[in-house]
Amino acid sequence: MPSCPRGHDTVATDYCDECGSPIGVPASHAAASPAWTGDEPCPECGTRSGRFCEACGRDRGETAGTSEARAASAPDMPTATGTPNGWLIVAWANRDYHAHMRAKAPQFAEVVDIPDTAPKRHFVLNGSQLLIGRRSQSRGIEPDIDLTGPPEDPGISHTHALLVANQDGGWSLVDIQSANGTYLNGQDKPIEANQPVPLTDGDQIHLGAWTTLTLRSRSKKRQRLPR
């Protein structure tokens, strides 16, 4: 059974069944939560109980961070995707890319400011094909990797690109004739539309006026976590 950054078991693979924490997100905030020694109420839910909190199931003998480390030390343990080697997309506002686009395509990058604060968004890759885009209710578009704001990057097409699962367990990127193109790893030219481009861990996909998607292998990411 997958477990969330705070160590709860969960059947749902997107957000924890118990505490609602996103699954597959670095447990930075969870790791920063204070160690729980036992006598005080459970820091998750306030319940007093024995070793395991009776209400939320947290093990008082370890912090959420150590449970994450435990998961990392057992590489065969299924992750949220149900496979040992899941992949993750991190969407973030990229100042360098925005500056580059502003120089290159001033007609739109100039009028679109990069937001001061844009929380990183995380998407677990599963299934065989994922649509990257922005939601449109009127057109019935529900992207899997939904980059609808706020903050909104209007340079992203509603149907912008696809991530397609490869036979070998990796992913390829396909631009599906987006209005403003899809760029890979800071290259000057956009990738060709409708042509799959295989991706590797750490690849950066640039789209819109300031959005960058970083592809991460979850198993490697885990190993970098502080023990």
Binding site: D14, E18, G20, S21, H29, G46, A55, T117
Partner: protein, 427 residues
């Protein structure tokens, strides 16, 4: 098997919370659509009971009884073939009009004609006991296998011939058993009573100023009921450990507070009844209090699904993300703001009318003035017109009004029964 309507959900919320904040508000829009709903014979099992008020006052003026008969006859015509139905005459007791035995019969050419003949013979005379009528309807529906069970209750008077506790007890026992639309005709009905019936039985309540409106209204109610394809639908709500469900409220097309009506599925999950569904669109206002997270932390605040016969027909998610960017967290979602305003308007009308009935002129003027002000601000011309019969506006911007001395009783009942109506956000 019938085509189930396709459910779609849209969540409107500002997911960003300032540090330490614990409350997340969201509006969930649930819309159903389907290519072919009007396939007749294959339609889901439906049952309909019409309770027609035959109290003595229905004969005064005679047009009330005449139009009520015509409306019932039209509604019988509107029933699909095979729909199980029955007609009840409501007085101080409840009597079967058709069929004579206390049961439901399938609609055929012959049963329709027999029922319509029986209705045409009805004579007004007797009292009003709404709970007794509903109890008979509940008995007829009980154990019937129909997926969609719908009743129409027409009255022209107040529930005078039984204790209020009797009606309340019957409503509790009928909850979940069938959906009931309640209608008042003439000028002697109580908006509070009609709303209590519609609220408990997840139907609509309205008053008809003129008996001549009955035929069209009965036809519309029956057509709407025939368009329902799913019977007992529930809104299933998952919330995280340590959270509290503050509000679960239908916000459109009318306000219906479901907060206290949840049943526990598991420690984290509750089911809230939303009645029968056809091709329609409704909004729900959800408010969840959850433990504050660290800045930068994201939590799932609610997972909402629409469930019919233990099958989830859609899922939507409500999020909370804590941020120290006030520009993000300060924004109020326009849908949430809109329905908060509509809820305040309804409360102001209901409290104003209650004060007016209790003779508390000052409170009544203050609350109805606030209602008139809100109605004007939010473009609610329908509500403004109803309030205009109760109060004379001195200054709409400040909500300064004077109670009209010439207002008649039914004006207040009409404002009451329609106080829960809402409109969607415009633009």
């Amino acid at each position: 098997m019938t085509d189930q309507p396709a459910f779609q959900a849209e969540v409107h919320q500002n997911r960003y919370l300032p540090p330490g904040a614990t409350v997340v508000d969201a509006v969930l829009t649930v819309t159903t659509s389907s290519a072919d709903q009007r396939t007749t014979a294959a339609g889901p099992g439906a049952a309909q009971v019409i309770m027609i008020d035959c109290s003595g006052s229905m004969a005064n003026p005679p047009s009330k009884m005449d139009e009520a008969k015509k409306a019932t006859i039209t509604a019988i015509d509107t029933l699909r073939d095979g729909v199980a139905f029955a007609i009840i005459a409501g007085r101080h007791n409840a009597e079967m009009v058709y069929p004579p035995a206390g049961t439901l019969v399938p609609a055929t050419g012959q049963t329709r004609a027999e029922a319509q003949h029986a209705v045409s013979q009805l004579i007004a005379g007797g009292g009003t006991a709404l709970g007794t009528w509903l109890q008979l309807a509940g008995t007829l529906f009980a154990g019937h296998p129909a997926e969609v069970k719908h009743a129409i209750m027409l009255t022209d008077g107040r529930n005078e011939h039984e204790a209020p506790e009797q009606l309340a007890a019957v409503l509790r026992s009928c909850e979940g058993g069938f959906v009931c639309d309640a209608r008042g005709v003439g000028d002697g009905w109580s908006g509070t009573e009609l709303r209590a019936v519609a609220s408990a039985l997840l139907g609509t309540a309205d008053g008809l100023a003129f008996p001549s409106e009955l035929v069209a209204d009965f036809k519309l109610m029956t057509e709407t009921a025939m368009g329902k394809t799913l019977g007992e639908v529930t809104l299933r709500l998952w919330t995280p450990a340590g959270s509290t469900v503050r509000i679960v409220k239908q916000a459109f097309p009318h306000l219906e507070d479901l907060t206290g009506r949840g049943t526990e599925v598991s420690a984290r999950i509750g089911d809230y009844p939303v009645g029968a569904w056809g091709i329609e669109s409704r909004d729900y206002h959800l408010s969840i209090a959850l433990p504050a997270g660290a800045v930068g932390e994201e939590r799932l605040a609610a997972r909402v699904s629409i469930v019919s016969r233990d099958q989830a027909l859609l899922e939507a998610r409500v999020f909370a993300t804590w941020t120290d960017d006030h520009a993000l967290s300060a924004a109020i979602d326009p849908w949430v703001a809109h329905y908060s305003g509509q809820e305040e308007l309804a409360t102001a009308i209901q409290q104003g009318l209650a004060a007016r009935e209790a003779g508390d002129i000052n409170t009544a003027a203050a609350m109805l003035g606030r209602a008139a002000q809100l109605a004007a601000e939010t473009g609610r011309e329908d509500t403004a017109a109803l309030l205009g019969r109760l109060v004379e506006v001195i200054d709409i911007r400040s909500g300064d009004v004077r109670l009209r001395q010439d207002a008649v009783g039914v004006d207040a009942e009409m404002a009451n029964v329609r106080s829960v109506r809402t409109i969607r956000i415009t633009g």
